[in-house]
Symmetry: C2
Subunit: 691 residues, 2 copies
């Protein structure tokens, strides 16, 4: 068998493993595996630096299947190149209950998968984050003679990926940053779920990517292995620009009655068409899931080369450790997600202060202190640093060394190149979300992304994926209520808090003052098994006197009693975030009126719900049925905490444009109104009580 | 005063009205009004076809301030050109409680405003929708000699707009559709909130828009009125391509210490800088809100020309009516949002059927019938017509007459040009949302946008704006639960139902069978004061026998009793959507076991919450505290309906990839499990009862 025959045999092995898996499941997408198998084959067997025996090798190349619907292609590649986890049985159980081969790749389920994809365009953003990660680690840790970090990030994308807005944002950002080791193979089969792209998509993608500053190449025949290789060589040689290789393919290649049509996209070919396709491509009809020994042996060469490559890297890293033991330790620590010992020893404590500070401002102080001790903390905002206060002072801006920005204005760090830790995402919230996810996927980072709470809507699809994949991402959302004021309803979040709480695996924390904000960041950094959202105020809130009120680390339990000395409360007042100061103020007034109120700060529903029933009952004793929650967000869901006899002070309509204090007052968020609602709940009118 | 002096006086009048408004509010964005006043002046006084005396003239040009933060510029223009609503007092009350001049433009509040903007990029998508609307109405209603519809859609956009993904999607779509009467003035001041665009945004925007097929022009000096005019002339002359005019400006033009810097972007200039700016531009320091009589008189010429233009149009329309009275009536009816008499007389009724059909499929049948009688119903999906079943048969595809697509595959209509009513949005959910909003803003349409429920996340910012602006938009989301099955967690909505219910002004309807789906479409078309979301199944659900169960139009009240003959229930089972059949099935089993269960279908929380307390109590009698809700979505919020002694069968984790029936079973969505949970709630184990 000559080389070319072996190539074809191997490519068809990929193709028919995928086709058979889809057919057996009677569900899935056969079209792209058939057409993209050649480029995937070339990439995986000739270029991709990976060692199937160790999917966690930190300097492996990353491969992202942005077109997650072609999962069967990826599973075939993983199986054939020898990833232990991906057995043939798993391929036979494609899309079945508890298999490692779900309909779209899931990284938390199948460990040799780099990223959970499927929602289109996300993988492009993930890959940009991974490439940022590689560039940063290389800039920070490599030393003359030691390239501890030197890997590419490859993406396989589809027409659908290239239509999505998140992709457009990510590609613009990657071009700006000059991420030369990012290489996208764009499988341009010009067919989507509902027909050919001529119906919807006639732009000049090549020209668009050139406008972003990418290196653009075309391969006119997706079966031309030599052309694909040449393009990959040229892409790898261009270290200054990200590359996209537009590969023209025919969807469902080889399926005689369906190739080139949308019918090959998202449904099994059918028994007859599978038969015909196998016949046309010279493949035995039986058995299914055939892996010819020659092909398998050929694929397994990847394992040998991978083992050799990783061994060489290991030797280099051992030598590196001898010279730079601190750096080597730091690298290992980062990838093991162990925080530095004593990282939070000098976080600021905030003295009691009736005027107080905005929690976004307290967050800034905590963030600065944290950034000094936790180098893996990197992040940025969607062009809002002067408002979110998330710029890490003295940590530099992440920017292309070839395109240092003028640094004359705003919050810019200047001349750090890729070693900078402040990532300026631009007005590109969705790409920010996907790129932050990519940094987590890459490993070695605790990344954050920041914007106004209301604009979490722009990046919600990425946030959801951080929760599905249980990524250690931190979302920082400021300007968290109608108290935003003048900017009006388009900028005032109402339902976002609830909408974020609605995402499974997400922890939402809305700290009530500066010291709770400190604890919130501690919880955020310590969390290992999923994303966490910090919700912060624009406006000042009083810093509680913790000599009077319970310690702020009660936040860790989701809800805690601020005045535990009141053991026989008539009513429980529950506040979150900026509304904690309202319930605290109301308690004081009520006390003067002889009403005994318990005050509870409830920064996190999720953390409190995870506590024992005993603890929950100790905070919210069942015997106290008069309960009032105060939160400048939707009422939905508060019934769970205030119970059937409770009351909910909430915002169930959109906001308004006026000074923040005016809006809060008009919407009932004043101590007076909290007092009045509390008294009404107790059946005491204010007049009765004060008389 | 010569012409040039009058121009400058007028431009400075705009500038300083805006600057004074921001300064008086001590909040807002002075930078863009200063730099964009010249282009806005040229557009509004020389090109924009509008009659300030009648902001509702249907053939006016539309103007969208996509950069909503420059609202003070828009308010100044509206005031100066004579819109009655926009008094000087309103400008003086900029950003104050209950003024018509909120921080960002709000169309539902200020009627002479075309679109609610502020969240960046949305206005671009709205404008694409408006231009689609104009093209469609012109194609449908214009006749030789009668151009009833012939207007432009203008956009003023900022750097931030041009960075957003929704903009990228919208621009690609507009280029594909060849929307020649869409003209964007891009105020390229190269400064955003946090600094210069060199930090984040160095792509070649002109080349990018060329790649989309747009006509791209540059004006190198934003103060060059002649150049702006020439560019607008050329843009208007190009009827085959949308146009973007990239106007280089200096942010905060004229403010000596702040111009060209991010400090001019989002904060008042300050008293001193206002003083200096006025001095530099030769403007009297006092009084503020100065409108020189010469300038005012000049601006008021717009009113005269506008009145003449509208009068000419009125005469033409009267003549049109004589020849085409049916069409004229139809146009008036559409813009008055009156549905055609008897529009729903022949909607399908679905016979009882134990196997049933998917509600997306029932929806398709209702939609086809509706499309025949309601010509203003237009819409499309994000490349999912074969799955959402929202393609209107026989109503043609909306496509550029110059670029008819090949129409060989999928669901395509062919050769209707702009008269087609199926809009193929492509894999561009966010732009779809913004464009659907734009169709409502334009008037004359009841538009819908469709995708999978899980991908509502991609377009959430646009959905929110439909709710803020109370737009009559219909969102159709199919594949509504874990029953999606094989595609796995990335494609299985869990929290989306709750997240949509969380949006104020939104009505979410999740019909339980085919006949409820019919009623749901009736409610959707009849709703006039806000958006409505239809949530539909992928899988079959039984069609209830309405001779046995209550009529499906109970849906109109949000929740209703399916078996009202059971007057003394021990327990209430509440289901929504596909889970209605589970509670119906469980009731049958329980009845056999001697347990009296009431069965409630609750397709809409919002509609039920809007009913009287009496009606609510008639459906959910307070005396019956054993209540079980069954819905394949989050539990949060169900406490409100099941009460403190109730139980909630829900999905509080992400889904899984397996056949849909398997996933439903594993997650507890079976009749058996509903029965078991019901018995447990009543304190009866299944065994006890059946023995």
């Amino acid at each position: 068998m000559n080389e070319s025959e072996l190539d074809q045999l191997s490519i068809n092995t990929i193709r028919f493993l995928a086709v058979d898996a889809v057919q057996k499941a009677n569900s899935g997408h056969p079209g792209m595996p058939l057409d993209a198998a050649p480029m995937a084959y070339v990439l995986w067997t000739r270029y991709l630096k990976h060692n199937p025996a160790d999917p966690s090798w930190i300097d492996r190349d990353r491969f992202v299947l942005s077109a997650g619907h072609a999962s069967a292609l990826l599973y075939s590649l993983l199986h054939l190149t020898g990833y232990e986890e991906m057995t043939l049985e798993q391929l036979e159980r494609f899309r079945q209950w508890q298999s490692l081969t779900p309909g779209h790749p899931e990284s938390h389920l199948t460990h040799c998968i780099e990223a959970t994809t499927g929602p289109l365009g996300q993988g492009m953003g993930n890959a940009v984050g991974m490439a940022i990660g590689e560039a940063h680690l290389a800039a920070r840790y490599n030393r003359p003679g030691f390239t501890v970090f030197d890997h590419y990030t490859y993406v396989l994308a589809s027409d659908g990926d290239v239509m999505e807005g998140v992709q457009a944002e990510a590609a613009s950002l990657a071009g700006h940053l000059g991420l030369g080791k990012l290489i996208v193979l764009y499988d341009s089969n010009r067919v989507t779920l509902s027909g050919t792209t001529s119906i919807t998509f006639t732009e000049d993608v090549a020209a668009r990517y050139e406008s972003y500053g990418w290196h653009v190449q075309r391969v006119s025949d997706g079966n031309d292995l030599a052309a694909i290789s040449r393009a990959l060589d040229a892409a790898r040689d261009d270290k200054e620009r990200p590359s996209i290789i537009i590969v023209q393919t025919v969807i469902g290649y080889g399926a005689p009655d369906k190739e080139g049509t949308f019918e090959a996209h998202g449904n099994p070919l059918g028994v007859d068409e599978v038969k015909k396709t196998k016949a046309d491509l010279g493949w035995p009809e039986q058995p299914p899931f055939l892996t010819p020994p020659e092909a398998l042996a050929h694929f397994h060469e990847v394992m040998e080369r991978g083992a050799i490559a990783q061994e060489a890297w290991r030797r280099q890293f051992a030598a590196y450790r001898e010279q730079f033991s601190d750096l080597a330790d730091e690298i290992e620590r980062r990838f093991a997600y162990r925080l530095p010992a004593g990282w939070d020893a000098s976080l600021p404590e905030f003295p009691a202060d009736a005027k107080g500070i905005a929690t976004r401002k307290a967050s800034e102080a905590v963030l600065q202190a944290t950034a000094k001790t936790v180098p893996e903390l990197v992040g940025g905002s969607g062009d809002l640093d002067p408002s979110t206060f998330t710029w890490l002072k003295g940590q530099g801006d992440f920017e292309s060394p070839l395109r240092p920005h003028d640094g004359a204005q705003g919050v810019v760090g200047g001349d750090w190149g890729y070693a900078g830790r402040n990532i300026h995402f631009g007005v590109r919230e969705h790409a920010m979300g996907a790129a932050v996810n990519g940094l987590v996927y890459h490993g070695g980072f605790i990344p954050f992304g920041a914007t106004f709470l209301v604009f979490s809507d722009y990046m919600r699809a990425a946030i959801r994926l951080s929760a599905i994949a249980r990524l250690r991402a931190i979302w920082v959302f400021t300007h968290d209520s109608i108290a935003v004021g003048e900017d009006g309803p388009t900028h005032e979040p109402i339902e976002q808090l609830l909408a974020l709480r609605a995402i499974p695996n997400m922890i939402v924390l809305r700290p009530g003052d500066a010291n709770e904000t400190r604890c919130a960041w501690q919880v955020a950094l310590e969390r290992t098994d999923g994303p966490l959202t910090l919700v912060l105020t624009r406006q000042n809130v009083p810093t509680l006197d913790r000599r009077v009120y319970a310690p702020a680390d009660g936040l860790r339990r989701g809800a805690y009693v601020l005045n535990p000395e009141e053991t026989q409360p008539q009513i429980i007042l529950i506040g979150t975030g900026s509304e904690v100061s309202l319930v605290v103020g109301a308690e004081r007034v009520l006390r003067q009126q002889g009403v005994r109120a318990r005050v509870v700060s409830m920064p996190s529903w999720e953390l409190f719900a995870a506590e024992s029933a005993e603890y929950q009952a100790s905070v919210l004793p069942p015997a106290v049925s008069a309960r009032l929650s105060v939160e400048a967000g939707r009422s939905i869901g508060w019934e769970r905490w205030v119970g059937p006899s409770g009351d909910i002070l909430s915002v169930d309509r959109f906001g308004a444009s006026a000074p923040g204090g005016v809006v809060m007052k008009e919407y009932g968020f004043t101590v007076e109104n909290v007092v009045a609602r509390a008294l009404a709940l107790l059946g005491l009118s204010k007049e009765e009580k004060t008389s």
